[in-house]
């Protein structure tokens, strides 16, 4: 083997040398994922975002654990101008009431569900579909690639927000699933491009050539050799876009083109609170804070995963 210094930057010289004998010393050789896991466990971003995400998931599944108040039944006895009672943590009046006398706290808790479900579902759909398109294009190249890349470019030309507005305006009854499909319909291109790039790089790797030389079939090469190695950048992009989709849903709902009553969504509440922004800021303040924290949690998670999987970017 030629000297390892060939392409590696100077500082990696001792590391490379240090890594080799590890295998000999009966220590467990570390994989990319193993290494990433070690890195993640000590990363503050990862710890904070994981805790936040677990709380958000519990809120999604069991909002009743956090508040006994109903998010939909308003009582005009509770006036929206009455100040939030910040000392009464967790009570219905904690964060004040909205125009219809509904508890802002309850609505903020129940609003988690739509956001998290939209975020996770869109990301799943987009990763599966975009990943498939990107993988096929990248692997087969030539005409298949030209066709799939062209297809991807056509969708890429549409502005994301505007495109989803156009799609959504056609549906009078915009349920969570309509919003999910609309976002996924326009959102898959990024994953497709990332996956295509990763597959093209990996396809030329020696171990893939070796697998092919040993007579492995196309599907075996694709799913056993290429896919696991191409997943790293895709996972990073997917995690970050999860936050972005939550933000997009809220924006569309805010514009009146996303979710609609009776679904509870932070975007709707924020938009509803805008008219009272000068007198009762709590109506839109708390949903906004929750929305930002939720998006932040997923983006931080993506950032932590990126750092762990791609030490070069550090």
């Amino acid at each position: 083997m030629p000297d390892a210094i060939k392409t590696a930057p100077a500082t990696e010289d001792p590391k490379t040398a240090a890594a080799e004998p590890v295998a000999v010393k009966a220590e467990k050789a570390r994989s990319l994922w193993g290494d990433a896991w070690i890195d993640l466990r000590s990363n503050w971003y990862f710890i904070i975002s994981s805790v936040l995400i677990v709380i958000l998931l519990v809120m999604t599944a069991f909002p009743g654990l956090f508040t006994g108040a109903s998010p939909t039944k308003g009582d005009l006895v509770h006036h929206f101008l009455s100040k939030p009672e910040l000392s009464k943590v967790g009570s219905p009046e904690w964060l004040g009431y909205d125009l219809q006398g509904r508890s802002v706290y309850a609505r903020t808790i129940y609003g988690t569900r739509a956001s998290v479900i939209v975020g996770i579902s869109v990301t799943t759909l987009v990763t599966v579909f975009g990943g498939l398109i990107g993988m096929l294009g990248g692997y087969f190249g030539g005409k298949v690639d030209a066709l799939l890349s062209g297809f991807t470019n056509i969708f890429l030309g549409l502005p994301f927000l505007l495109g989803s507005m156009v799609v959504l305006q056609a549906f009078a009854d915009r349920t969570v699933w309509v919003v999910i499909l609309a976002l996924a319909f326009l959102g898959w291109t990024q994953i497709a491009r990332v996956m295509r790039g990763a597959v093209i790089t990996i396809k030329q790797a020696d171990y893939v050539q070796a697998a092919r030389a040993l007579g492995a079939g196309t599907s075996r090469i694709l799913f056993r050799h290429i896919l696991p190695n191409a997943m790293a950048p895709v996972i990073v992009v997917a995690t970050i876009s999860l936050g972005v989709y939550i933000s997009a849903e809220a924006t569309l709902s805010y514009l009146g083109l996303g979710l609609a009553d009776p679904t509870i969504s932070w975007g709707i509440d924020i938009s509803g609170g805008l008219s009272q922004i000068r007198v009762a800021q709590h109506v839109l303040l708390y949903p906004s804070i929750m929305l930002s924290i939720t998006v932040l949690a997923f983006i931080m998670l993506g950032e932590a995963v990126r750092n762990a999987l791609d030490p070069k970017s550090r």
Partner: protein
């Protein structure tokens, strides 16, 4: 610890100054890297010196610290994670490690230049080779763009690149590997430095091109009477060009010797192993010798002599005591000039 002594009659330094002694002298240099997994001790007390017109070959495997030492001399170590906790590097009698950034910058390129292994990645992909060569003159000598370009063409001629004038505006990726390495050499030679450090200059090249590039380098070195530090893992490259050799293992120099003696009589089991692992025509059909095991983990260097787990001659003392680089003598005690070995059993190795 001993340093490598002069082995050849050398002409005095070219640039007129009153410094006597070696052009470059490294004393007890230590370099470590602070990584997530701990501190990797890449260089552990290296001593060597080079005179004007002299060629020192530094030999070793990956991770032996030979390149890191060179980068420390050049001042291009990444710090952090790199750190120089101890040691001195004298250039013309002045410790470069104590100089300011600006003082060191003035030395880089003008007095000491470096040739890297992978010319493709070491040249900037988005600038023409003419620009990158001319930059030396523009920055250090304040030449105009036009004059710098003319100088660049001269340089390219000098390293025997055909049609230099036509190719000066080409980009690195448009040249072949051998031509690119010539451009690297030209860049190092541009300001006629006193010392050139060549880090595996031919490793990335085809065997046929290797010899041409090596010859060119040796020829230019003679012409300019420069000091040359040639870093390599290839014993074959060394024999023709080097005056003296330093063999490195796990961040230490384990053997030093004038070039031809080391081939005849190595005084360290590691050097011996390296020499025996070169395929030889007269041993056709026999199994080729190989040093067993792998280079040590720099995070956990074995106690005692770092080579002991792989050494055929290892005894208990090798696992406890670090052998110092001690002078090597004939059986009768006559000193062998310039020779040293860091082995408890050097006598058995050279004479046994």
């Amino acid at each position: 610890m001993t340093t490598i002594d002069k082995t050849a009659e050398v002409p005095s330094a070219r640039s007129g100054d009153d410094h006597v002694g070696p052009l470059l002298e490294v004393r007890d240099l230590h370099v470590e890297f602070h990584t997530r997994d701990g501190v990797a001790k890449a260089v552990n007390g290296v001593n060597y010196s080079v005179n004007a017109g002299e060629t020192l070959a530094v030999l070793g495997e990956s991770g032996s610290g030979k390149s890191v030492t060179a980068q420390a001399i050049m001042g291009i170590l990444d710090m952090p994670p790199g750190k120089i906790p101890q040691g001195e590097i004298f250039f013309r009698g002045q410790d470069m490690l104590k100089m300011s950034y600006e003082e060191r910058r003035q030395i880089r390129g003008q007095k000491i230049a470096m040739i890297f292994q992978d010319a493709l990645s070491s040249l900037n992909p988005v600038l023409t080779v003419g620009y990158q060569l001319g930059e030396m003159f523009r920055v250090h000598q304040g030449l105009s763009k036009k004059d710098a370009k003319a100088k660049a063409i001269d340089l390219m001629d000098q390293v025997k690149i055909p049609a230099a004038a036509a190719r000066v505006s080409d980009y690195p990726h448009q040249f072949s590997g051998g031509m690119r390495q010539r451009i690297m050499i030209a860049m190092a030679l541009a300001l006629e430095p006193d010392l050139i450090i060549a880090d595996e200059p031919t490793t990335a090249l085809d065997v046929t091109v290797q010899a041409q590039v090596m010859d060119l380098l040796a020829e230019l070195q003679r012409e300019y009477n420069m000091g040359l530090i040639l870093i390599t893992h290839d014993l074959g490259v060394v024999a023709d060009v080097a005056d003296k050799i330093a063999v490195m293992y796990a961040g230490r120099i384990v053997e030093t010797a004038p070039v031809h003696e080391i081939y005849k009589r190595p005084a360290h089991p590691y050097t011996k192993g390296l020499l025996e692992s070169i395929p030889r025509l007269d041993q056709k059909g026999q199994e080729l010798f190989a040093i067993k095991g792998l280079p040590p983990n720099l995070l956990r260097v074995p106690t005692g002599c770092a080579f002991n787990p792989r050494c055929t001659m290892a005894q208990d003392i090798c696992r406890t005591d670090i052998p110092a680089l001690s002078p090597v003598t004939e059986q009768d005690g006559t000193e062998l000039v310039g020779r040293g070995s860091a082995c408890h059993f050097w006598k058995e190795t050279i004479h046994g």
